[in-house]
């Protein structure tokens, strides 16, 4: 499923860029774009990794740690550890989040569209190779003598009856499978 969605995503992106490359007016691509891929709305943001500004600025490493600071650090060690932990979590999250607010509106040149379109069709070709094997398989031929097979003796009724009974028991057993909840699924996450 993931491969399929990925392929659909690249197809949609390719379509989008092909349309853009035909358009004369440069369009601001820093704005997020919503594409519809297989009924899912995909939020597409195009951004150069080098242009990403971190949401949270790193703390000033030059801050002097003199005697006065030590006194303020006389708080229990647990609190400062907690702070450091929180800060590190925040920093990690901020690094992974892309800011979608439109800041500068630099348009993309025509040739950049073409480049992107080419990039995406290469990606698409790669994915298509792996996906083409998943086409719906045609019906296998069970026999070359359908009339003979259909005309031959029927399965004895007692056999059918026995098997239906077994299948009914199996169905009943399967339908009784259920989850036995023992503990809470969601708990409070406490930092000691």
């Amino acid at each position: 499923v993931k491969q399929f969605l990925l392929q659909k995503f690249w197809q949609a992106s390719l379509c989008f860029f092909t349309q853009l490359s035909n358009n004369q007016n440069p369009i601001n691509l820093k704005q997020p774009v919503i594409l519809n891929v297989c009924g899912l709305d995909v939020f597409l943001v195009l951004q150069d990794p080098s242009e990403r500004k971190p949401l949270i600025t790193q703390p000033n490493p030059d801050r002097p740690l003199n005697g006065t600071d030590w006194s303020s650090a006389s708080q229990p060690t647990a609190r400062t550890d907690e702070q450091a932990l929180l800060t590190s979590i925040l920093t990690k999250t901020a690094l992974n989040i892309i800011d979608v607010s439109a800041t500068d509106s630099q348009g993309m040149e025509q040739h950049e569209y073409m480049d992107k379109a080419r990039q995406y069709s290469t990606k698409l070709a790669l994915l298509s190779n792996s996906l083409s094997q998943k086409k719906p398989t045609p019906l296998p031929s069970l026999t070359s003598q359908p009339h003979q097979v259909l005309a031959s003796d029927l399965v004895p009724y007692s056999d059918v009856q026995q098997v239906s009974k077994i299948a009914a028991y199996a169905y009943s057993a399967i339908s009784q499978i259920k989850v036995d909840a023992k503990e809470e699924l969601v708990v409070q996450f406490a930092i000691p």
Binding site: H147, S158, Q161, S164
Partner: protein, 136 residues
């Protein structure tokens, strides 16, 4: 194979009450009690597509040549047997609402037999003449 060549053989099957020849595009031929029965054709095609995906131990072919079974009132295939192999494999499919399957003797005296050949599905409704003594 022309349609008449396909159906001639089916017509001659003893105790047949009707038949269907179905392709991916739809019903190619129908007769008897199954004449124009696209509803049954649709159900059986679905069953065939599912059953043809069965494989044993990484084999390339489905492990059966013919399926037979009945349809209950709501049109779900009630039981399915797959003979014509060295060992017999059975499977059964039930309507979600059915609570008990074998509460009574099966009163219907027919069975649908189904096979696939050359991208076409052949269905014959056959009458069951000999009844084994009922096991209660």
């Amino acid at each position: 194979m022309t349609t008449s060549a396909l159906t001639q053989g089916l017509e001659r099957i003893p105790d047949q009450l009707g038949y269907l020849v179905i392709s991916e595009d739809g019903v190619l031929a129908s007769a008897g009690e199954l004449e124009n029965d696209e509803h049954t054709a649709g159900i059986i095609m679905q069953m065939v597509r599912t059953a043809c995906r069965f494989r044993l131990q990484g084999a390339a072919e489905p492990p059966f040549k013919r399926m037979s079974g009945r349809l209950n009132k709501t049109g779900h295939l009630k039981s399915l047997t797959l003979p014509h192999t060295n060992t017999q494999y059975y499977c059964s499919q039930h309507d979600a609402n059915q609570h008990s399957v074998l509460s009574s003797v099966m009163l219907e005296d027919y069975v649908y037999t189904v096979t696939v050949s050359g991208q076409k599905v052949f269905v014959v409704k056959r009458q069951i003449n000999q009844r084994d003594p009922v096991v209660v």
